[in-house]
Each structure stands twice: as C-alpha cells, then as structure tokens.
Subunit: 329 residues, 2 copies
C-alpha cells in the first residue's frame, strides 16, 4: 500500500467505494499498521474486506530490476500475485510505476500478440479526455509496438468512455519541418491500412489539447516528456497566479468571490477526475494511481480499476488485436 | 517578408528599432507593395534602409526540398544570399521554418565541426528563460549531434543572457522507469566528460519550468512535441478562462479590475518578450520570428538578431566546439 499518503488516504477511499458499489470486494495488502486500525475506525464491512500483511516496502528510487529479484514480500508483488493466481480480478497501486510495470510483466505476462505493455493516461480536454500512450514504459519502440499501442488504446478507450470508434492519432511534428522519423512514417502506414481502427492521421503537440483525437500514440520517451512538461507548466502557471494574488491587496480581497466563480472551470480541469493510469497489454488488470493522489483522486482510480475488471480488458485487447492483424494480411 | 501579418507588422517594428539603435541598418527584402508605401508612411530614414524587390513567395505548406530547387527569387532565399555574400550581417524571417533551415544550411553551410544546425527557443521561467534545442530541425540525432547542440546552446545562451557558465541539462525521463534511451545515455557520458561545459545532468519534462537549467538539449522530435504541447496547453487554459468569464456575470463585471491587477503576471508570461528563435550552427546569423508575431514581438526578434550579429555567434560557436572537443581527447 504505497503512494505519498498511504493507508490514511487509501482506507477512507476504499470505504466510500464499498458504500457506493455493492458488488465490490477488496483485498488490502500492506503493513499491518496503520492499516488495521484505520479499517476499524472507518468501519469497513468485514465480509467484503480481507487483509494480507506484508513486511517489505518498495521505495520510489528502487531500481525496477532489483525489485524483481528481491523484496518478495512487498505489497506490490503480493497484490499482483493475487491477480496471477485468480484470487483478485485486478490490482491497484499508488507506488513506484517502473517497479509495478516490471513486476506485472514478469508475473502476469503479456496478452497474446502484444510485445510490450504500455502506460496510458487521460488528458482533460474540453470536458472530454485525450488518452495518450505510451507514457514511459517503453523508451525505444518499433513500428509494430506503436501499432499495438494504437490497438490497445482504441479498445481500452472504447470500454472506458463508451465511444464506439475512438479517433486514433499518431503524435508527430509539423509537416513544414519534415514528416517525422522513419519509425513514425512506418507505423503511419500500418495504421492507415487497418480499417478496424478509426485512424485520423498525425496529431501535433498542440492538437493534444484541441479535441482532435480520443487516443494518441507515441513512444514512451516522448509521451513522458510531454506529460511531465504539461504538469510542470500547469504547476508553474498556478504558482504565478498564487504570487499575483499574494502581491495584490485587491486580488486578495476578491479571492473568495473569484474562487467561487471559477469553481466550474476548476472542476473541468480537476486532476482528481482523471486519476488512474492503465497498464495495458498485461494478462490481468493493473491500474496505477498518481503517487500524490488525495482521497477523491484515489476513488477515481478505484472506479477505473473496477471498470477494467468488469469489461475483461485483457481478453478484449487480444480479440481486437487479432481483428486488426487480419486487416493487415 | 513573411509571417501572418507581413510588412504591416514588420515595417513599423523596423521603424522603432532604427529609432532605438542608431548603429542599425536594414535591408528590406520582399514584394514592392505594400512595402514601399508603408516605409514612406512610417518615414524610415532613407540612408539606413535599402530595398531589394523579389517576385516569388514561399508558402507555409511548401516542402523545404522543393523550395531549395525552385523559387530562386523569394525574399527568404535572397535575404540569406545577402548574408552569404557579406552584404548583410544577419537574416531575420517570419516565414516557413523548414524552408528557412534548408535554404540557410545549403547557402551558408555549417560551422566547422558542426554536423547539423539546430533550432533554439526560450521558455519563460520565473522571470528568466530556459533555452531548449533542438525544436524540430533534426528528427533523429546521434549522440555526437546532441553533444554539439549542448555546446552551441551553452555558447549562444552565454552571449544572449550574459550568464557566464549556463547550466546545461539533458532532457530525459524519470529514472524510476529507466534511465532513458541508449542514445541519451551515450550523450550523457560525453557531457559528463567535458569540463568546459557546466553540465548539471538529466532534466525531466516538469523541470523545464522549475529553473533547473539554462540550456536543455533534446532531439528535434521530442523538443517540437514538448514546445507545441506547452503552447497548446496555454491556449487551452486561456480559452477555459475566457469561457469562465463569459459565463459569469460577476467575473464579467470585475474583468477590467482583474485585468489591471494581473498585468504584472501577464507581462512575465508575455510571449512577446521572448520571440525570436535562433538557427544555431550556421556560418551566418539567421533568426526566425514566430509567424503570428505582432509588433512588439517582432521588435524583440530584431533585437535578438542584432545581438547575435554583434557577438559574431558562428565564430564563437566554432571556438567553443574546438575547446570542448579538446576536453574529450
């Protein structure tokens, strides 16, 4: 049980989700304390919650490879083993992303036909979402792997959002400079030749925020830099805004009024509503919550994990991949 | 004479810069009209301004390769030829970036020891700037080319900002997932081994906006996606803000007061102050203005071009490169 706030955030989130969804059962994996006492104080229903106590902790700076060899009694490893052994339908973690990916890949394996799993997150755009993958699991990707990301993303987004034929785009740079790398041009051809996908062509960086596509595919290096730069820019602008308010008496006085008036906008941009990053392409459901997720954000991640379990995402991805492969023959 | 607003924006900007800098002389290259009549109405000093009339136009969607073969009487080509022939110290354009790079490389050649020129722009951070290169001239880069970008960026930023030993970072993704691509690890070693550079190590996407480095190096694909995503995100947030004001009577009423109070912040984030992208590594000074630059922004680009000419940037880059190569031997 990881993340910056640990059980103190996770237990009340679980309590709320158990209340809201009567079909949900939860296995809590982690150190006995403060998990047990928190569960008691939040009155979690004993018949729908079970505990597995673990003794080791994976830290944010642990190298994924060393986690694979050692720390056999970490909550992350044990939770994934529950999925592998059919004792849980899915696993949700707020811990070290790299470690989660390596453990999940090693213990669960990938869906048939998928070479590498990918990490997918949602950017909020105009009240909708633009889903981007990969966000850092795969630094160097082949054209075939990028094609598989498009298939996985399309299937997952159809399931998560209800959009029947999600618009799939390929992240690329302006044609006025050139038409992208050799690899991007290669996967672009594969995507064009696959009628099972609703492929809309190249998407430039700025178009990620213009509701051009529902799914955008890129390699993990580009995706990670883009996502983190966007987060950094938002933080920076919020900081500038705070400074502007602190430095100006009139703005300080108006602050409560402004806050109330801007609430609808803040809600649209609220990261809590889109917490929960999917690890796609695994033989099992694994969802990652942002490490610094607070309670509403962690609840959103739980709901996303539940949805992925209910739709049997791994099986759906395998079936969709077989269909798309057929297109290319 | 290109850009979205053409001579109507450029001529008044030139008039102002001529007024402010008595050593500046300008050659205006473009279609005779409306250039000549605008110059007359803005009373440009005849002894410091000359004209070259051209008959062809390079469009935003012209392929760079076709521009190289054809359109020999375009303003862009003729302006670069002036630099090549020693009739101008530098060239400033608001036209098609890809065409500008291809023409400049072909007509001017690269600085000795530089394999490929790069495009560098400045992101505003906490009242300072983070300079990033490359932004799209080079899609696939070798480690050696990325090393050259670091050298060029360090030298150019020292000159443009007055910082003696600019902090140089390498754009990379979180170490918790892995330590970046093979190429990035390779250039990281080269940079560590070069004491002539103030190399500070890896910089993640969010750290671009945290004043961690003065110069950040990346390949043109990643840089282009990052820059355009940042621009797209700012546009999106401004749009949300406008909608919030339009939808709320109280905010509409307060709008003039808020605008005045937030002006200092808006000034810090004002893109006009950092217009002007440098094409580094060429045997001559070439600066690109944003296509949609208005008058204050175009003036900033003129000032940047003047500064690059005064410092003899190409010569300085060659000397710095020789020094850094010495480090590596």
């Amino acid at each position: 049980m990881g993340g910056d706030f640990g059980p103190r955030c996770i237990i009340p989130s679980v309590a709320r989700c158990l209340e809201q969804d009567s079909r949900l059962n939860v296995v809590l994996v982690g150190s006995p304390e403060p998990m047990t006492s928190l569960c008691a104080s939040h009155q979690l229903p004993a018949d729908r919650v079970s505990f597995i106590h673990t003794s080791e902790i994976i830290h944010a700076d642990d190298a994924p490879a060393s986690v694979l060899r050692g720390k056999r009694d970490s909550s992350m490893r044990v939770a994934i083993e529950l999925v592998r052994d059919g004792r849980a339908d899915g696993c949700l973690s707020a811990g070290n992303t790299g470690a989660l990916m390596v453990l999940a890949k090693a213990l669960l394996g990938t869906v048939e036909g998928i070479q590498r799993p990918a990490i997918m997150a949602a950017l909020p755009v105009a009240g909708k979402f633009c889903h981007v993958l990969d966000l850092g699991a795969n630094v160097d990707c082949t054209a075939r792997q990028l094609f598989e990301f498009a298939v996985m993303g399309s299937e997952a987004v159809a399931e998560l959002t209800g959009i029947e034929q999600p618009r799939v785009g390929l992240l690329n740079i302006g044609s006025e400079i050139n038409k992208g790398s050799l690899r991007v041009r290669e996967v672009s051809e594969l995507l064009r030749d696959s009628p099972s996908l609703n492929y809309i062509g190249h998407v430039e960086g700025n178009e990620l925020f213009q509701d051009r596509a529902d799914v955008v595919v890129c390699d993990g290096f580009v995706g990670n830099v883009m996502l983190k730069a966007s987060e950094g820019l938002v933080d920076y602008m919020q900081g500038e805004m705070r400074r502007a308010f602190a430095d100006n008496l009139l703005l300080r006085l108006l602050s409560p009024v402004l806050r109330r008036s801007l609430r609808p906008m803040a809600e649209r941009l609220n990261p809590h509503q889109y917490n929960g990053v999917s690890l796609l392409g695994l033989q099992g459901v694994v969802v990652k919550s942002h490490g610094n997720a607070g309670q509403p954000a962690f609840e959103a991640a739980i709901r996303q994990a539940v949805r992925a379990c209910q739709s049997d995402m791994p099986q759906r991805i395998a079936a969709r991949l077989a269909r798309c492969r057929g297109d290319l023959l």
